[in-house]
Symmetry: C2
Subunit: 447 residues, 2 copies
Amino acid sequence: MSSRAISGFPELLPEDRLVETFVENRLREVFELHGFVGIETRAVEPLAALESKGETSKEVYLLERLQSARTLRSGDRGLDKNTLGLHFDLTVPLARYVLSNSNSLIFPFKRYQIQKVWRGERPQEGRFREFTQADIDIVGQGNLDFHHEVEAAEVMLSALNSLGIGQPLMEVNNRKLLQGIFTAVGIEDFDESLRALDKLDKIGVDGVAKILSENGLTTHQIEVVTGAAAITAGSSAELRERVGAFGLQSEALEVGLQELGELVDQAALFAPGQVRASLRIARGLDYYTGTVYETVLPGYESFGSICSGGRYDKLASDGKRVFPGVGLSVGVTRLVSLILGAGLLKASRSTPSAVMVIVNDEDSRDASEEVARTLRNRGIAAEVSPSSQKYGKQIRYADRKGIPFVWFVEAGAHSVKNLATGDQQEAAPLTWDPPNDCLKPQFDRTS
Amino acid sequence: MSSRAISGFPELLPEDRLVETFVENRLREVFELHGFVGIETRAVEPLAALESKGETSKEVYLLERLQSARTLRSGDRGLDKNTLGLHFDLTVPLARYVLSNSNSLIFPFKRYQIQKVWRGERPQEGRFREFTQADIDIVGQGNLDFHHEVEAAEVMLSALNSLGIGQPLMEVNNRKLLQGIFTAVGIEDFDESLRALDKLDKIGVDGVAKILSENGLTTHQIEVVTGAAAITAGSSAELRERVGAFGLQSEALEVGLQELGELVDQAALFAPGQVRASLRIARGLDYYTGTVYETVLPGYESFGSICSGGRYDKLASDGKRVFPGVGLSVGVTRLVSLILGAGLLKASRSTPSAVMVIVNDEDSRDASEEVARTLRNRGIAAEVSPSSQKYGKQIRYADRKGIPFVWFVEAGAHSVKNLATGDQQEAAPLTWDPPNDCLKPQFDRTS
C-alpha cells in the first residue's frame, strides 16, 4: 500500500492535531457562549447550486460512483445540473439549509459550523484542496438589523482572543460607504472599480490607478478613490473627519459613515484597539452589501487574512421571502498551519493521559487496571502500561508520550512519580489529584 | 436555488444536531479518559488503496475536478490507480497513516477518529451515503498483546454506557475458536463456511445448513457448525463446558477458548452482564484474526449492531514491518437516528443560551450587551434580544428557542425570570447563577 502524502490534503501528527482540536474547541465554546448553535450540512450539493456563487465554481470536485465510471461508456458519463460536487465553502450549504428548514428555524438564526470544505485546485505549493472552516452567521427572515453586524465582530474577536495567540486586528469597511463615495464622484460601474480596489495590497496604488484609468475614470475620480482607500480610523469622529476632507455627499455615503462609525465606536467597548475602519478593504465578492471584515494577526500580516466575511442582504431567497445575513469565516487549517509553523501554540504532550499505571507482572494486570478505572471515574485520564517489562522500559514508554505521572501499584501503599521532577510520593487512587496544569494537555507558546 | 434533500445525505435540525454533538462529545471524552488521542485523516485515498479492502470498493465515490470534466474529451477521462476517491471507512486511512508516520508514532498507538465517510450506493430507503463513524483502534508494531482486545471492549462499553441510553450488550467471538472448531471437524474452506455462518441472522439455521451442504460439508460437520453457533456463555467456565460437549480438539480451538474465556471473565469486572460470548458472531470480512465484536442495544435488537469490530494481525505492512491492531467502530449517524427515532434522548432546548437579556429600547442596547458580556465571562451562555419590541414579543422569542431565563435591565435592581415557572427574582450579573441543570442544554429520555 502506498503511504504517500497527496498535495493539498494535509494531515497532522497527534501532537499537532491536539493543537488543532484546541483551536476548534475554543472557537466552539465562545460561539456557544454567545448563543450560536452548531449545525452540520451534507458535504455535497448539486452542481447547479455550487455554480450559483460565481468564480469559485471552477474549483469544484465532482463525485461519480465507481460503478458508473466502470460500467457506463465514457460518452454517457455526462455532467448535468444534478451531478453532485463537494461544497467549497459553508455559505452555499447554509443558504440551502435555511431555505429548506425555514419553517422550523427561529429567526434571527444564529449558527456556527466547523466543517471540511474542498476545492478542486490543481496541486500547487501552499494551496489546500481540503481544509476546515469555522463559520458564524446570523440570518434574518425579511430583515436583519444593523446591530448584528456589530455582534458578528464581537463574537469572532472573542473567539480569536480566546486562543492565546495575540490580539488580532480586524479591519472593517462598509459597502454603502464605498458605494456612496463612488456615486458622489460620478463613478458608474461600482463592481468593476471595487474589484480594482480589491487588488490594492497586491499591485499597489499605481497598479490600481492604472486599471481605473483603463476603465475610463478621470484623474480626479482616481485621486478620490485611491485617496479614500488610504483612510483608516479608530472612531466615528476620526472617520467623519477624514472622509469629510474629500467634501463628498450622497445618501449612501451618509448611511455608510453612520454604520461604519457605529461599528468602530461599539468595538472600542468590547475589543479596544482591535477594530479599525479601513476603506481599503473591498472584498472581491459582489454579494456583500454592508459591513465587510478582514482580520490579520499582528506580526504575521504577510500571512493574509485569518478571518473574513461581510453582510449580504440576500443570502437566500425562495421568490417570496428573502433571508439577509452577516457572517465571518475562519480558515482553521490555514490558521493552525500558521500557529504550528510560528510556534504560537504547542501541546504539552502527545496523549490525553495524565497517568500511566505500571504493571508489575501480567498476573497482576487486573490490579493496575483497577487503579486506572478509579482515576478515570474521577475524571483523570489514565492508561495502563502495555507491557510488564522492567520498570525502566515502562517508564520510558510513558516519558516518550509525555505522560506526566507514572503510578506504582505496591503491596503496601501505592506511589506516584512525577516524571518531570523525579519526585515520588505515596498516593491513593481515590484521593490523589494531579496539579491542575497536568490534568489535560496544555497549549502554550513554544518560546 | 433548489432546497431539496438528497437521498442518503442526512441533515439535522439544530435541536437534533445538539443530540448528535452530545453523543460525539461523550464518546470523545471517554476515549480520551482511556488515553486515546484523536486524529483526522484526509477524506480521499487513491483508488488503489480503496480497492485493497475487498467488496466495499464497489461503493466508492470518485472525485473529478470540474475543470477536467469540462475540458477533457470524455474518452480522456480515464480511471487509473491515482484517481482519488472518498474513503468509505476509517480503517484504510488509519493503515496508511500508521505506515507513513511510523517513525513519529509511539506504539502501541491508541487513536480515536470521529469523521465522515461516504459510500457511493444507489439511492435507496434507509441507506446512508454520507455518515459519521467513531472508531477506536490500538495498533502495535510487530506484535500486539491479547489484553488490548479486552481493553478495546472496555473503552467502547464505557463510552456507550456514558450516553445514558441503556446498557448495550456486546456479543463477542474469536476467530481462532471458530477456526479451531472447523479444523477439528475436518472442514477445509474456513472463509467460505464463515461467510455462510455470517448469514445466520438473515436466513436462519436451515438456510445456513443448506449453503454448507451445497459447499460439500457432511451432515455431521453441518451439525457441529450450526450447533456450535448456538452457543452463548457469560463466563469462561460456561464456555468451556458448552464447547467441551462437542468433544473436539485442536490447537487453535484451545487458544481461542482461552482468549474468549479471558475476555468474558475480564468483562464481568468492568461491565457486568454486558459482554457475552456468542459463537454465532462471524463478521463477514476475512481480515479478522482474533476477537470479533458486535453490539446491540437491548430492546432495539432488530436495529442491528451499533458497534462492531475485531482483531486483525495485519492492519498494515510495508514489507519489512507488520502492524497488527484491534478496533471497534460506532456508526454515529445510524445510532443517532435510532436515538432520535425512539426518543431515547432529546435536547432540553434548541440553543446553547441559558439567558436572553431584554432590550428596553435601541438606545440602551449597550446596557443589555454589557449584562450579557458579564454573564459570558462567568461561563453562562447569553444572548441579547434581537429586537426592542414589547417585552411580550421579546419573551416569546426566548421561549420559542427554549431559553430558560430572560433578564430585565432596570434602572434600580435587575431581575431575572424563569420562563418555565414564571418566578422572577432580583439578580446581579456578577453573582447570579442559573440552576446547574439549566446552564447547558440537557439530554434526557423523552418519555
